[in-house]
Amino acid sequence: MTDMKNTDMEEINIATDVLVLGGGLTGIKAASEIAGSGYKVILVEKDAELGSKKGPELIGLKEEYKGLQDLEDKIKTDSNVEILTQASLVSAAGVTGDFTARLSKGKKVIEHNVGAIVVATDFATGSLNEKYGLSPADNVLTQSRMDELLASEADKEKLANKTVAFLVGLGQEGNPLVLERVLKSTLALQEIDGCDVYIYAGDLKVASNGLERMYKESREKGAVYFKLTEKPEIIENGKTISFFDTVARRNIEISPDLIVVEEELRADQLNERIAEILKIDVGPLGFLQNDNVHFFPVRSNRDGIFVAGSTREISGLPSAWTDVENIALEVRDLLGDGKKSVAKNKAVVNEDKCVICLTCYRCCPHGAIYWGDKKAVISPVACQGCGICASECPMDAIQIGGFSDEEMIEEVKSGVASGNGTPRILAFCCQNSAFEAGEMADIFKMQLPDGLRMIKVPCAGKIDLDYILNAFVAGADGILVMACHPGNCKSEKGNTYAQWRVNDAYRMLEEVGLEKDRLCFVGTASNMGSGFSSIVVDMEKRINELGLSPLK
């Protein structure tokens, strides 16, 4: 088995300044932690003031609030932090360890060489009145307006003796932060004389520390919860709310003085533009991280670009703080003392073959490739060695250390030829998933065909069409291409490329009259030993039905 051996190392210098985008509380904390690790930080905020969006994320953090103000004051005098307000990112060239960021502030454009970039945008709030068929009126408040009223002693008095109804979880799926705002308001209203609170709720999103206790406390203090599966009937713009109670078997009608409508917490509008400039993916709902467990908590699809807090998903400050500490670790690990030891042969471009067609630049999921005068250039720091580029390159100009085409084809041939056992089944296994699962099946003595040979690849995206065809020519009776499940590839699309190549191979098999069933693409995971066993055993059965390969 060829192991990835990168013994030939070189030391390179990398930039150690760090760019933090977003001067909200998460961005301030990130700047403070990174500067505290000894790196210079450029903190960029689009508005005139830092920390200006002290909104819903502060709910429930009364005791911590003082500390947050200190943090903000401290950052302003920290000589390691350069603050640029009313500024924005215009472009970012280069790769991890060596980004050239251009920032605009007024008419000026400032250029900075940075080693890492942290995106720390905040979430935005949006009205959901329309979802409930409500129009703005004196009796219809957004959650934000209710928060404002409760923050002012004068306004609070005006809420005495009012009946207040909250609508939550029926205009959207919601999340714990949305519910936390409702619970906090409810408990605050219960401190005011004569306030009655009714809550019309879909699923109560209590999956956050302390919420179940707050829910209980509010009930004990007299809040009434109506748990519904659909919106109640809202009459005369919220003057009356009515629904059919399935337990009491009757309509329940309430006429509140005030109706408070939940708000949507959504991704910052800036995210899309930032993603475009940084060439990182926009994930579900406009947040800047794909739903891929290998990126959690704070990685983006590009090395050296990190995402914190509500940049990647709706976060309260506690989880944003967790993200920031993880980013501080990642940044320390990445930048170190500005010197980085990298493998020389991770991905090598052959200048004689490269025609700068930019195929590799387009297909690299890590944004690790750019181009020079005569050839494509692969950054040894940013490259993850997946090999997608090597297999996509139409000129075969790229070779991956430890997994060169020559080595791979040699391994394919010897895999088919060596040892005993028929039918001969060759399994190309991604080292992150299928290869691990195969080892697990073997070590746990699960059933495996005698004629099975596993060939390890750095990523399924490295499985070249040539390898598959060579294996059939060498006499393989069946071939499995085993990748990570869609959405689980560390290189995002390696499994997709592998599937495409298998589809190409099917067309060729058809032309030469070889049965399609001899080739199979399948997704698997590193902990699926039993799954691996059943996949290869099924494959053996199918091949036995077909008989040995006619190409033998």
Partner: protein, 395 residues
Amino acid sequence: MSTENKKVMVVGGGIAGLTAAWELSRFNIDVELIEKTPFLGGYAIRYCCKATDECRQCGACTVEAMLKNVVNEPKIKVHLATDVEKINNRGRLSVDLKKSSYKPDSATEGVVRGYSKNNSPLHVIVDKEKCEENPDAVPEGAVELDTMGFSGKLDVDAVILASGFKPFDAEQKGTYGYKKFPNVVTGMDLELIIRENAIVVRPSDGKTAQKIAFIQCVGSRDESLGNLWCSQVCCPYALRMAERIKHKNADAEITVFYMDIQNAGKDYAGFYEKCKTEFRFVRNIPVDVFPMENDSLSMRYMNEEDGLCINEEFDLLVLSVGIVPGPDNSNLADLFDVGLNEDGFFAGIDKLNSTSTLKDGIFLAGTVGGPKDIAASMAHAGQAASEVIKHLGVS
């Protein structure tokens, strides 16, 4: 200040402990990783992959990857079958360790196996006599539990408590008939069934289960137990598991009994919508379960449409058990002089920094501080490692 000679003890080899140890080792810090059982990986290493034709983001595969990182990292010294005995707080933390009193849950066989190929040793002999009766059945390389464990003193600069949680003991909710009726299983049992067999079968007869019920919030959000928290993991694991079952067996009929469904994954609204088209959701938690002739189970619940009670039969009942504080929490709290919160989990310094404690040099990682899923436990462990590095003044 250099990182040389800095040493940190991590108590607990589950996903949080593994992650904390690994993160520290990346910064050249020596780690002593203490695990009371003979295997690393905790509960998370036992979970199955819940992918359908696409990844469902359960994170179980990331636990395998982290375990592999740790066992291959020379900066991390692992002490299996070892427990903390005493702390002597003089300058550096001096910790006395002892062989743990670990006993396997079921001692029916003489040998227990780890859950990952990366467990070393993979097989541990827990009952020598049984093994002597049938020596051929003892796998090569099996190690006697009696010979494992470390007794002695270790001086360290900081300690991370990552001793994890306990799955709620479903026998406490007696009316569900867990361990009385063979086809009542917990979510944890189901993880193991799938991990070992790749398919879901009824424990009573090994047949494919067609009509399956999940009951949510077993041991969570339960005033009668005093468990006033949402375990945060059960809705995601139950829905992902149900999806996986449905993917393998399109004819399976799945019902989820619930109070409030919690979010799973980043695109939770889309995922929940999909689930609603595939399973039946009943907003009602049944109380009583009755056995039927063929080992099926009958349950009683209220129909929302007419308000009447329904009795319905199921092939398999899955109890979505939650996260409760670890069995060692009170002992560890005493030993390390760190407080527990009102729920019995360890208390962090404040809401924003839930990994530091009021006790200098003692930190928390993972479910020791409250319910978390795999991803959140790993993130919390990263935060703990970062706080430790600051504490040590490493740069």
